[in-house]
Every structure is written in structure tokens, then in C-alpha cells.
């Protein structure tokens, strides 16, 4: 009955969790909240994490009723999704124009093949040529300083307690916690947060990315819009947008950008940032209307790509994970889609949707039982740790 201690602190939430045999024994968390109209910067976030992490560690052990001797393994967030290389970005754009069957075939051989080895149908060439001009490559999330701050403590604890160390992929932490809490067996996963937006399904020992954002995450889009309206960041900008959206009455037409299996949010953000002040000043709409319109538009995009993935995989289960997954409107829209397909929707509450230590502990627990270990020499962090890089040896 191994007990795993998990550390998470890749963004503005820091958590320490304890999991043993499928039971969450402790899961305390702290959130670094910045003033309205601002976001959180790496240095300040890391400073916050350093100030509270040892207290959180003690809190977790006390809550779980365990001591260092009872802990079998230390898990920490090694990295979180990551940026696309030019090859992968090209692949993702090309993928949006390929027949779904071809996409699936290539996604059984992960990671995505290098650009030079791809042969594109002639219909795809125009988009490939566009991509080869200099563009801004979408940068993945994963704040280095906070990640390092947490990894420092995890590694030191592992050394002091003489326990094995496990570096965990943040996304896989979300997925494994979602599976644990909801009991979903093999769902199509919609992973939506401030730093990631991916549609994922399990196949042949990897969590395959069927679709994703080609620029910013949906949560980032919502958070940055909240800054435009100076919406409070307490408890989170996304939560406050959700509450305001409930009072919205008018649907403002916004750019809807779905590219095959992928989505794009930078355009809609630019658009709404541009028109928001004008429309509010002229009284065309209220801030609540804009919140409502933004949610309806981006969530519809997410539902579309999830449904497409479910149709392709023949999946009867959908699981929402990530901080944006707490949004009840998103859950409602996904539920409607699932019902129309005769599928089941699974979702968790804010305890496990939002970044937390227990999800890292749970993924670490699975990995530990499967024999994974992270040597000290390989115990750094990475800001580019794709979901499909991990060999999922703990599943059939």
C-alpha cells in the first residue's frame, strides 16, 4: 500500500497532496492572487511558493496522519505540456486538413514524425507553405521559476528521507486524478486550463493528443479578457467571468476558430480586447454580455473538437479536467453533446479540477507501482513536456 507525496506548483497554485491506494489523504493548496487587471509573473509566483511550501508540506502530513517513514515516494511536477516546435506546429496545422482517419493512423506512432518525413497531399500544400514563413510559434506554458521552486523542495525531501523521486507530467496528473475521482474507464479527455487546451485519448500506452490549441490556452484567453475588464482575480478570473456570464443577456458575435481538430483563441482574444471598450462605451452591450458571449463561443469550439475526437474514436465517455473544467456552463454544454451521442460526461469539482498536489501524487502512485523512478541526475524541470512523451506503462 504505497503512499505517495505529491508537489505541484507550475502556475499560481501550489499544492501538496498525499495519496495511498486510490484514497486522497490530504490535499492542501494555496493560490497566489494578483490585483485586478494584472497577471502573475514567474518571479513573484516563485517567491510566493517558496514562502508557503514547507508549511503546506507539514499541513499535508498532519492532515494525512503520516510521518516521513510512511511515505514511499516523492512525486513532483516535472513539466507541463509545452511549446510546439516548428515541425509540430506545421504538423498540427496540416493535421487540421487531413482526413480524421489519416490523423489517427499517424497518432499511433508518437511523437509526431519530423517535418521532413511528412508527405502532404497536394490539397494541404497551401497551408504548409503558409506555415513556413516566419511566424510566432505558440509558446507552451510552464513557468520555470515556480517549477524550480517546487522541484527544489521535492528533491531535497527525497534525499533527506531517502525516498525515490518521480517527475510527473502535469497533464497526466490531471488525467489520472480525473479517472480516479470519476471512475471513467477510457474517456476522451478535454484538458482545459490557463496553460493548456488539449483533447486527449489513450491509445497503446500513450495519452495521444488528438487536438489542441495552436496558440493560447482557453483559460489564458479568459484570464486575459478578465484583465481588460479589470475583473477580480480572487478566487480566480475564470470563476468571476462565469458568475458575470450568468447575468449576460445578449450574444455578441465573436470570431469562431476551429481548424479541424485544433482551435485558436488568440484571434478571438484580440478581437474582443479591441471591441470591448468601444461597445461598452457606446452601450451596445454590458460586461456581462461580453463574458457570456466569450464563454459561449470558446466553449462551443471546445465541444466541437471534443465531439470530433469522440466520433473518430468511437468513445462513449468524455472527461473534463483542468481548471476551466470547473466551469458549470462548459460542463452543461458538454453534457448536451454527450447526451446527443449517447455518451457519458465525467467532471470533477474545484478540489481536483484546479491544480493540486494530490493529482501529482496520484499520477506518481501509478508510476511508482509500474516501476518508474526519476534519478537525481534527471530530476530537473522542463517547460516542454508533451503529454504524449510519457509511456503509460500502468495501463493496458
Amino acid at each position: 500500500m504505497p503512499a505517495v507525496l505529491g508537489f505541484e506548483g507550475s502556475a499560481n497554485k501550489i499544492g501538496v497532496g498525499v495519496v495511498r491506494d486510490g484514497a486522497v489523504l490530504a490535499n492542501p493548496r494555496r493560490t497566489y492572487v494578483t490585483p485586478p487587471g494584472t497577471g502573475f509573473l514567474p518571479g513573484d509566483t516563485a517567491r510566493h511558493h517558496r514562502a508557503v511550501i514547507l508549511d503546506l508540506l507539514q499541513e499535508a502530513l498532519t492532515e494525512a496522519g503520516l510521518t516521513s517513514q510512511d511515505i514511499d515516494c516523492i512525486a513532483y511536477t516535472k513539466g507541463i505540456a509545452g511549446r510546439l516546435t516548428i515541425e509540430e506546429h506545421t504538423w498540427s496545422l496540416a493535421r487540421s486538413e487531413w482526413p480524421a482517419a489519416l490523423c489517427y493512423h499517424h497518432y499511433t506512432t508518437t511523437p509526431a514524425p519530423p517535418f521532413t518525413s511528412l508527405t502532404f497531399p497536394s490539397s494541404v500544400f497551401p497551408s504548409v507553405c503558409r506555415i513556413l514563413t516566419p511566424i510566432s510559434i505558440p509558446l507552451g506554458p510552464g513557468m520555470g521559476a515556480p517549477l524550480v521552486s517546487v522541484a527544489v523542495v521535492a528533491r531535497t525531501v527525497a534525499q533527506l528521507w531517502n525516498k525515490p523521486l518521480l517527475g510527473v507530467n502535469h497533464c497526466i496528473g490531471h488525467i489520472e486524478m480525473g479517472r480516479l475521482i470519476t471512475g471513467a474507464t477510457s474517456p476522451t479527455v478535454l484538458y482545459v486550463s490557463g496553460g493548456n487546451t488539449q483533447v486527449i485519448a489513450y491509445s497503446e500506452h500513450r495519452y495521444r493528443i488528438f487536438g489542441e490549441t495552436i496558440d493560447i490556452a482557453v483559460g489564458n484567453c479568459l484570464d486575459r479578457f478578465a484583465r481588460v475588464l479589470k475583473i477580480s482575480n480572487d478566487p480566480s478570473p475564470g470563476y468571476n467571468i462565469e458568475q458575470m456570464a450568468k447575468r449576460g443577456k445578449k450574444l455578441v458575435e465573436l470570431p469562431y476558430t476551429v481548424k479541424g481538430m485544433d482551435v485558436s483563441f488568440s484571434g478571438i482574444l484580440s478581437f474582443i480586447e479591441d471591441v470591448a471598450q468601444r461597445m461598452l462605451a457606446t452601450g451596445e452591450c454590458t460586461p456581462e454580455d461580453l463574458c457570456f458571449s466569450l464563454q459561449e463561443t470558446v466553449f462551443a469550439m471546445l465541444v466541437e473538437i471534443t465531439e470530433r475526437a469522440m466520433a473518430h474514436c468511437g468513445s462513449q465517455e468524455a472527461l473534463i479536467v483542468g481548471g476551466v473544467g470547473c466551469n458549470l456552463r462548459l460542463q452543461e454544454m458538454m453534457e448536451t453533446m454527450c447526451q446527443e451521442r449517447g455518451a457519458r460526461l465525467f467532471a470533477t469539482d474545484e478540489r481536483f479540477c484546479i491544480d493540486n498536489g494530490a493529482m501529482i501524487a496520484q499520477a506518481g502512485w501509478e508510476m511508482f507501482r509500474a516501476g518508474h523512478r526519476t534519478p537525481l541526475s534527471d530530476s530537473g524541470i522542463t517547460q516542454r513536456f508533451r503529454t504524449d512523451e510519457v509511456e503509460v506503462t500502468w495501463r493496458d
Partner: protein, 192 residues
């Protein structure tokens, strides 16, 4: 002085960048708790060298940008009290007017070799290349940990120094938190 058990780790330090907001700003040196020896680091002071004893000045393995700098006035004995120093020295290549190699050096006295070794292992494992521009040297002699960073780019050196000091501080705080008894012992021969 205790028997000199020496470990030297060399690598290039990576400044923790981030995907969202640019590189982590330098927090400046942190003053470590006295339980760890009260080591102080400052990238801006010009007091003396930080070349630790126990190293004979020969180059150790690892990557470095340009020639390994020779620190002026290097002392063969390890410093007491954790005095940090940073000094600019001419490149050993001889063309002193063109390149200046900046250095940050720090001595961290621990209560025992085990603590120094644990910290050394942690910092060594986390040292990564950063465009091969910042050269990091770590040495354990007795219960003292010697740290030396060199770079030609002052910004990179500042960022790397801040990052390393943050990590060092966190390691020491964690050790203090989890094993407080160690830090309450008087240090033999160190006036603790």
C-alpha cells in the same frame, strides 16, 4: 581542519526562463539562516577572491565560454563566515581589453559534511547549460560548500546567481524544517 574530502561539480547554470513572462528577475542575494552558516552572497561586491582551497586551480571538466578565468589574488584557504565576492578579471586569452569575465563566488559553511554533500548533490544535479554562457563550479571541502559562477554577460551572471541562491536558500530551509535537530547542534571548531 577536517580531512579534505573534495567533490567538484562543474556545469553551466541555467537561468529559469518561463513561457509567459520572460526570464525570472534576479531577486538578489539572499541572506541564509545562521543555522547554515550565515553565508551571504552578493554579485556586486568586489571584496577579494572566492577561489576555494582544495582546488589547485587546474581546470575541471565541463563547458565554459572562452578560457577559464584566473581570479586575481586567489587565496588557497577556504573562507570562513561565508563571505561572498565577485570580481572582474581579464580573460586568460590575453586580449584583456576586449572581454571581461565576471565572477561570483560564495562559501557556505555547513554543520557537517553530510549537509554540504547533500546540498552539493542537489545543486549539481540542477545545473544545466544555458547557452554555455555561465560556468558553474561547486566544491565540497570538509563541511564547506564553495560555489563559483563565471560569465562574460553580467545579465546572465546576475540571473544565474539569483537562481542559484534561491535554490540554495530553499534547500537549506527545507533541511532546517525537516531536520531541525541538526541545525541546533554546536559546530565543532567553528565557534558555533
Amino acid at each position: 581542519m577536517a580531512a579534505a574530502s573534495e567533490r567538484v561539480g562543474v556545469g553551466a547554470m541555467q537561468a529559469p526562463g518561463d513561457g509567459a513572462g520572460g526570464a525570472d528577475g534576479a531577486d538578489g542575494a539572499q541572506i541564509l539562516d545562521d543555522g547554515a552558516g550565515g553565508a551571504t552572497g552578493s554579485a556586486g561586491s568586489s571584496s577579494g577572491p572566492g577561489n576555494p582551497g582544495g582546488r589547485d586551480g587546474t581546470a575541471t571538466s565541463g563547458t565554459v565560454a572562452g578560457e577559464a578565468p584566473q581570479v586575481e589574488g586567489a587565496s588557497p584557504a577556504p573562507r570562513q563566515g561565508g563571505e561572498a565576492s565577485a570580481s572582474a578579471s581579464a580573460s586568460a586569452s590575453g586580449d584583456a581589453s576586449e572581454k571581461q569575465v565576471l565572477e561570483f563566488a560564495l562559501t557556505v559553511p555547513f554543520l557537517c559534511y553530510v549537509d554540504a554533500e547533500l546540498t552539493y548533490q542537489y545543486l549539481t544535479s540542477s545545473a544545466e547549460c544555458y547557452h554555455e554562457a555561465v560556468h558553474t563550479e561547486l566544491t565540497v571541502i570538509g563541511s564547506d560548500l564553495f560555489i563559483r559562477l563565471t560569465a562574460e554577460d553580467p545579465v546572465l551572471l546576475q540571473i544565474s546567481t539569483a537562481s542559484l541562491l534561491n535554490q540554495l536558500s530553499m534547500v537549506v530551509q527545507t533541511m532546517q524544517h525537516l531536520v531541525p535537530a541538526i541545525f541546533s547542534r554546536p559546530r565543532p571548531g567553528k565557534g558555533g
